[in-house]
Symmetry: C2
Subunit: 335 residues, 2 copies
């Protein structure tokens, strides 16, 4: 059922089997599996996650490579609800581990917000990351290219940059190292720091060895038309020719709500999990980009299936077995 | 490129980066990723694998739940070829580990077969399994229901069996234990051995305790219409009422071609892999149902992405770096 401030009251006494924080590819896959296992689950989605911004999902089996991420998200959300999942637009502010249950406090509504608390036996952290984009006065100018010819994932879109003049946009020196992987796809790389970091002599020398020019002035604007990049204009008036680019400025991790929970093993901002996406906290699972591993839609979707399946196994093993009572001979049913 | 007996000659001197044995969900995902990494790969598909038989793929994010497996396979095959993968209909008879390369002998054509040998640096074992079905004189009667209301995967289709009268069809006693998981979805389970095994007193007692009747006569035919099961008629004339069923008679593993290769760690008929789907043989990867783990389309698709990515990393790290030569100052390029 789709929940909102108008009807969520009815769920405040529910103990969900699982609450899924994040309705991206991994969270929705988990919800579809949980629902099909007949488990009660609630997906809380804040909106506009990483896959929402994907203009084309090019490497996922079964989907036309021109399919936008939001189309898949809408489709899977509808499907999960149809099979019995609850879905709520909101932002998870805090999770408290109550021992048997989690208390999940959600901010609902941007204005006149309310703060309902939902409860569940298991928690699936599927809240992912969002890519940091270069901040310009005119952000629409960034959005006109980001996800089209200005990419954020080399694994997904390196192929579409093949042998093109490209910009690599970074926010710190270590991010420049992506140039020495991106050159698998194209050697025509100009590195742009957007004025955000200093670059060591050692790195300058390495870039020079590879013939990758370094531009340290802030970006003024992206130039092109119909989402097709032609180049980047810097504030010092330089024009850097490029028909494609990779933004590699790091990510914001949506994991604050987990920071108060004891017993979670972190690797930086990522959660460490086992092969079923279970974290070191036995009732918390992590899927997708928040989990340590490859940030790919295909992986997130599998993660959701795995986490949901393990939760089903745990719950099933603790539940009384269902019997076909009318067939049980009285001598046995008395046992 | 689509290869056939007519044009495969042109590829006999190619050293592929990877040969993918099996063009199911996992193999095609691997091929899509390999092609988008710009790697040369060949998919060898014998046809009619497990996902080919899926009438509806119900739990995969982004796809309508009525989509048949073969539609996704055709779509992904076309996509992989478009991005540069080679694809050949054939049966992999033997793989010889030559140290730096694998020699992969393929039987092409059912009549007047030819046996070309292709070579690759890496091998992806994506040849999967096929479910054993009850053998009746009229196999069309089985195909009329298998994949529709007669399922082979409880995780995929348990939901669609909810509280329905069902048959569990097994070939040996240990397979009967699925009844005590299937009862999560429905307690109305009749167990059919199709005359294939003896059942111990202990198991008989457990089935009686759960009220699950046991029928040991062979199946004569499945009864129903439009793929909708109504029941199963046994050769002794018994009619077992059921609107759905689960076939749990084990699987045939397509892994014979790997049996001569040293250094592979097996768990029964499954290959043991690390988190990137690499087996204990560093140049062999396993994805999908052949890999130890959950047999799900979502998992196979992720496996393909992971295996291809690790192969790309290995090959990339061993390749000379591409430089933007025109920008390199003479003083540095001389180094």
């Amino acid at each position: 059922m789709k929940l909102s401030s108008k009807n969520l009251e009815s769920r405040l006494n529910t103990i969900y089997d699982a609450i899924v924080v994040g309705g991206g590819m991994g969270g929705l896959s988990a919800a579809i599996y949980l629902a099909r296992y007949g488990l009660k689950c609630l997906v809380v989605e804040k909106g506009k996650g990483r896959s929402f911004w994907m203009q084309e999902l090019r490497n996922y089996v079964g989907i036309d490579p021109t399919t936008p991420g939001r189309e898949i998200l809408n489709h899977a959300t509808k499907q999960a609800i149809e099979w019995g999942a609850d879905f709520l637009r909101g932002y998870v502010e805090e999770v408290v581990d109550e021992g048997e249950t989690f208390a999940v406090k959600v901010k609902v509504g941007k204005q006149n917000s309310i703060y309902p608390v939902f409860r569940s036996k298991y928690l699936i952290a599927a809240s992912g990351i969002i890519d940091i984009l270069p901040q310009l006065d005119d952000m629409q100018n960034v959005y006109d290219y980001a996800g089209y010819t200005l990419h954020v994932c080399m694994i997904c879109d390196g192929y579409d940059m093949w042998d093109q003049k490209s910009v690599l946009i970074v926010a710190n020196e270590s991010q420049i190292n992506a140039a020495f992987v991106l050159n698998w796809f194209t050697p025509y790389i100009s590195v742009l720091t957007h004025g955000l970091c200093k670059v060591s002599e050692e790195m300058r020398r390495k870039l020079a060895e590879y013939g990758f020019p370094l531009y340290e002035a802030p970006i003024a604007r992206f130039v092109g038309e119909n989402h097709k990049l032609k180049g980047v204009e810097l504030v010092d008036g330089t024009f850097v020719e490029a028909t494609t680019g990779l933004i590699n400025m790091g990510s914001i991790y949506h994991n604050q709500y987990l920071k108060g929970i004891k017993g979670l093993q972190w690797d930086g901002e990522n959660l460490v999990t086992n092969e079923m996406c279970q974290t070191s906290h036995e009732r918390i699972f992590a899927v997708g980009d928040l989990k340590k591993g490859l940030n790919q839609v295909a992986v997130a979707v599998a993660d959701g299936a795995l986490a949901a399946t393990q939760i089903w196994r745990n719950i099933r093993r603790q539940s009384p077995p269902r019997k076909w009572v009318e067939n049980i001979p009285p001598s046995l049913s008395a046992v």
